[in-house]
């Protein structure tokens, strides 16, 4: 009985948003724009929640002196350095991320750290590929061959003779088997999303309300 209100809201909101996609009708389109603005505001709050959650997690680690608690101090240092320079410091017209101190931290700390994290992938991928790619079965062998051909076709290192056609083979793998499987996955995901959305709109799927379905 008490679920009727939320179910009605979900039904009306869902139907109106579907209508906005297909119909060119002023009031409906304005309503959809209004809802979208609210979504963006809510998404901004999600960032605040994320920051609060990070703060709480590391504060707990520090209080309990858990393993690696010293790293939490570094996290807090970076956290407050960016917040203070980004929110409270001004230098003429320059505020926020344009303040020289914030920009300096971004260029000299965040940028190289981000690049470092990414570059480490090369080492871990090499180690993981070496351990995982064993031709144990027909499927594993196909995966192994496809991976090696794409890796070799991607870079112009082996050229001449039989290797001349490696880029074409790579492109064929990406264009035909890869695309066919991706399309199958995309269509499956799309149909799944559509059916879930319809189930929510029509009140068949009610777990988002919390509690039991009864």
């Amino acid at each position: 009985m008490s679920n009727r209100g939320p179910l009605a809201v979900a039904f009306i909101a869902g139907m109106l948003m579907i209508g906005d996609y297909f119909l060119d009708w002023g009031p409906l389109n304005s309503y959809a724009e209004w809802v979208q603005k609210y979504y963006i505001i809510i998404a901004a709050f999600a960032i605040v929640l994320g920051v609060a959650s990070l703060f709480k997690l590391h504060l707990g680690k520090l209080k309990r002196k858990e393993d690696g608690w010293r790293y939490s101090i570094v996290t807090f240092f970076g956290f407050f350095a960016m917040i203070v320079t980004g929110l409270f410091m001004t230098s003429g017209d320059l505020t926020g991320t344009k303040h020289p101190w914030n920009a300096w931290l971004y260029t000299n700390v965040q940028l190289p750290l981000g690049a470092t994290m990414f570059s480490l992938l090369a080492f871990f991928i090499a180690s993981a590929a070496y351990r995982a790619f064993r031709a144990r079965s027909l499927e594993a062998t196909l995966l192994l061959l496809a991976a090696c051909l794409v890796m070799l076709g991607q870079v112009p290192i082996l050229t001449g003779g039989v290797f001349e056609s490696l880029p074409e083979i790579k492109q064929w793998i990406l264009d035909i088997p890869n695309m066919a499987s991706k399309r199958a996955i995309m269509i499956g995901v799309g149909l799944g999303m559509m059916s879930t959305a319809l189930k929510i709109i029509f009140g068949i799927e009610r777990t988002y309300l919390g509690g039991s379905e009864e």
Binding site: Y21, I40, F118, P156, I157
Partner: protein
Amino acid sequence: MNIWDKLQSIDRRWIFLVMFIVIIIPLMNPKSLDINVSEPTRKAFERIENVPSGSNVLISWDFDPGSQAELLPTAKAMLHQLFEKNVNIVVITLWPAAPTLADTTLNEISTLYNKQEGVDWVNLGFKPGLDIVVKSMGSDIHEIFPADDKGKRVENIPLMKDIRNYDDFNLVIDLSAGSSVDFYVEQAHGAYGADLVAAATGVMIGDFYPYLEANQLQGLVGALVGAAEYEKLMEKAYGLEPDKATAGMQAQAKAHLAIIIFIVLGNIGFFAKRKKTSPKLESLNK
């Protein structure tokens, strides 16, 4: 432990060391490789070449420093091309750590062409909401981005005066380290008919090929190799000196070869051991 076991369980520190050596040497001594331009990259280049002078292009800068090694060379090459062609550029981002990177790059390249911020290009910065931001730009970009990255109201920015939605852009370019290409295909192209070109990281590129084949994307630049191909096209068309992607290709090529050699070694050990142990197993079973 015999040799076959050893081949199957090389200590990962040796793998890391070999990778370090094969990457660092080419980076310290870069040589250009003979790069073949793939069809998706050529399509992207040609679509941007066809943007008329004086028209507007929207760039969605959806990557942060973590993916700059793969995407920044493409971004730079495309900015060079657009400024060469006197195309106006509007940049937005769906990633919170991206605006400063975009701003630094735009400032660096626009200076070379004497392009003015607010007149020839503008950085509208970050907005949370992902696909909803992409959808909302179809109705009114001023509502979603009321001010640029520096806080200047859009109505006071000369470039933004005649730009309201996707209809005012000749092309939308998504430089994506995530799944934002999906949002642009579904919302900007699907709902508003915007023309799209994308550049994506190596791990994501496979996901976007179906869009290219269906003409939902008019060009696709994939990973560092795509960036190197784009630099080659820019060198040919505008005499622009190849940048970091071309230099990085040699390191990537050696790294790929090293990974394949490790995979082959592991499999040699695996098969040799299986061959050795299987007769024993058969006799045990008997």
